[in-house]
Amino acid sequence: MLGGLIEANVQGRPEKRRDFDTLKARVGIKVEDIEEAVTLDFRGGRLLVSNGLKRDRRITIRTDADTVMMLSNLAIGPFGMPVYFDTVGRGIVGKLVTGGLKIDGMLANLATLNQVTRVFSVR
């Protein structure tokens, strides 16, 4: 589903396509409440989706299914920055603070995380 979401997002959205074409990173997503994990291997204009968490991930997101949906609904504001002050954004910040959302590699890869967020967001 997540691969399909990114594919649909990128099609017909030039600003997301540009991010997708330049994004090179291996990102893991572990959806803990349904015990599903996926590795998204962004290869500069190509995406390889694998089940499970593969090695050498730059970023790993661990959360529940509802928060994955929230991340997909995160608004993108000026300069391509995710908006953390609306309802969805505040919800995500709240999850980060309370441990409901864990992002390994976040601080060292903020620019990449923002790029992934833009590609992932339907907004």
């Binding site: 589903m1 409440d33 349904i34 509802d66 339907v122």
Partner: protein, 141 residues
């Protein structure tokens, strides 16, 4: 309260009324303008021998029409969600969250995924609406 037979015309009417009674759906469904078909696949061993469909004409936070139709007709909607009967029963009994079900491939979605994701709250509330209907399931008869 008398139970309503699952996926019957009476069920469709009750479902429409519940949706239109929901202030949450009215808000969350604002901007939605597509038809949705629910395909309920047959499970003869669960006393559900033939596939059925539910056609939903949802528009801007309102259910304009909901009908039980053939599975083929439901499959012609803008968005189609398909699952075997017992999966739908799990959804209607709060045992399976539709978002999680779609992520796990337990519910199959046809249609523009980003649009569905944008209306996650609305689809969750629609599920809530089904749980508020007292339903008689065919495998419990």
């Amino acid at each position: 309260m008398a139970k309503i037979k699952a996926f019957s015309p009476e069920f469709a009417t009750a479902f429409k009324e519940e949706i239109n009674r929901s202030a949450v759906y009215k808000q969350a469904g604002k901007g939605w303008k597509w038809t949705v078909g629910l395909v309920v696949e047959a499970e003869p061993d669960k006393n559900f021998p033939e596939a059925k469909g539910v056609f939903m004409d949802l528009f801007d936070g309102e259910a304009r029409d909901i009908q039980v139709v053939s599975a083929d007709d439901a499959g012609k909607c803008d968005f189609v969600i398909s699952a075997p009967y017992s999966r739908w029963k799990q959804v209607m009994q709060h045992e399976l969250d539709p978002t999680k079900g779609m992520m796990q491939g337990k519910l199959k979605l046809k249609g523009d995924l980003p649009t569905i994701v944008r209306f996650t709250r609305a689809s969750q509330e629609m599920t809530e609406c089904t749980t508020r209907i007292s339903v008689a399931f065919p495998d419990e008869e």
